[in-house]
Amino acid sequence: MSPSTKYTEYDAYAAEEAAEGRVFDVGGQDWDQVVAAAEDLGDERLVVNMGPQHPSTHGVLRLILTLDGETVTECRVGIGYLHTGIEKNMEFRTWTQGTTFCTRMDYLAPIFNETAYCLGVEKLLGITDQIPERAQIIRVMMMELNRISSHLVAIATFGLELGATTVMLNGFIEREYTLDLFEEITGLRMNMAYVRPGGVAQDLPSGALSKIRDYLDRMPKRIQALRKLMDANPVYLARTKDVAYLDLTGCMAMGITGPVLRATGLPWDLRKSQPYCGYETYDFEVATETSADVYGRYLVRMKEMEESLKIVEQCVERLQSVKGPVMIEDKKIGWPAQLAIGADGMGNSPRHIAHIMGTSMEALIHHFKLVTEGFRVPAGQAYTTVESPRGELGVHVVSDGGTRPYRVHFRDPSFTNLQATPAMAEGGMIADVIAAVASIDPVMGGVDR
């Protein structure tokens, strides 16, 4: 069978040939012809599939790379391998239970997911200014600690993907110390569901503040050590400087936010420009760089960790003097129970149980209604944003007046930022694709939700 007869059989191929040049149909026997024809054409186009299971794609990301030698001529990104249906699942749970789902989206920044969602619910309820101050401070503190842990993982995995195990080990051990604080405060290392509509789940345990202070003593030195390891490391510089360049125009067109945007020199940080949770009262700086490359993004992340430590320090100071509830006073919204640690783990506090089971029928009914049915949120829609470690995390909350969300949509920064991969990678070396993806720091749980 000659190639020409084959082409007439498949019209689609003929059309494709017209659009994209010669198409080779390899049947097996004609391999020599194909090779000879390819040599005549003189191109060595190679299509390489990377992922979804690949040690350096930062999760279940799939890259389809067209290579000319070692140069990437075309890069296409395939996602959806971690699609979890979280948004749909939330439509079948109460507003409060929603935090348990959305915390598992961007699993490196759970507190940000929860806070963005809760801010949206609170906006629809119209209770934004009734959230107790202590709850707001705790939220800010947790978010900043989370930012540190997230950036540490970003830098650690970046190192690992470039082949530097030392960076990975150093980053992860520091993250462990941050997670110890989370565990102390929320009971969990990840996926805490700690921030709830109306406040936070529970107050800080006694002794938490002193642990945070120890952490604050230790951490600046450790960040300094990481900087010593990498800031001027010639191998590191060679892999990051002037790699995966994306300027401000590109960022704006692609909708890129977060460290990638700030590495182009634009000091756009929602904590400063559209403050929430009282960020306007904290003293910190927005980290920027002007190099718009991988190294600049790394420097922005390092700087942000240092600024976050400053914010945590101010939070600790305030938490010493600001006492009071951590949940909204309105009993129609605030979760009725106070949690406590018992012999068998965390649960409702014995005092609360004694109250609803022993002394007050009304309290029992109220508890039952609020826990099983939940509260109603007035119909409408709201869009709230927080500055997550990866950029603008937006939540579009729609309510039809019921006890469950009608629709929740998360505008995850990883999803949007990942679109920039072709812009960063095409025309560069294949090894730099890894650096480009890692510098975006996508979290596939957030991308696919």
Partner: protein, 182 residues
């Protein structure tokens, strides 16, 4: 009585099965197969505090062809399922699977259209590890339990017999509740 009585001191007697099991368990190479939140905890298991290189596991295998343990760390979506199976097929025998976290074990809280309700629909699972996500210590415990299993794996016809026995035991296992009523 037998040969072992006549051996000089300094000799250790064992079976080929035990030697093979010991060799296999002492350096299990996990395939780097992170999916979601659990993958971060799996990586944290490799960090200096938990350090699974104590069991010769720090060499995470980038290619499945040189791996013998697959830690399914996270939720498996319908789109990922065929990929997962292909990776499992690429691994060489003998191979083991740990379903890390509730999502991999049973679908967990994501009982919906997108998630495979337990990775045992796709690949045989040796150890189910609960938790959302499990702590690194829990993963270490699962790995040690797997070591135990590997150590006591039989060879050849003995293995077939062992499988049949396990199968029979499972078949006879009754549900915990409702035994009186059903």
């Amino acid at each position: 009585m037998g040969l072992e009585e006549k051996l000089p001191s300094g000799f250790l007697l064992t079976t080929v099965e035990q030697v093979a099991g010991w060799a296999r368990k002492s350096s299990v190479w996990p395939a780097t197969f992170g999916l979601a939140c659990c993958a971060i905890e799996m990586m944290a298991t490799g960090d200096p505090r938990h350090d699974f290189s104590r069991w010769g596991m720090e060499r995470a295998s980038a290619t499945p062809r040189q791996a013998d343990l697959m830690i399914v760390a996270g939720r498996v979506s319908q789109k990922m399922a065929p990929v997962l199976r292909q990776i499992y097929d690429q691994m060489t025998e003998p191979k083991w699977v740990i379903a890390m976290g509730v999502c991999a074990s049973s679908g967990g809280m994501f009982n919906n259209y997108a998630i495979v309700q337990g990775v045992d629909h796709i690949v045989p699972v040796d150890i189910y590890l609960p938790g959302c996500p499990p702590r690194p210590e829990m993963l270490l415990d699962a790995i040690l339990k797997l070591h135990d299993k590997i150590q006591n794996t039989k060879l050849g016809p003995q293995r077939a017999k062992q499988i049949a026995e396990l199968e029979e035991a499972k078949r006879r296992q009754l549900p915990l509740l409702g035994q009186g009523t059903v």
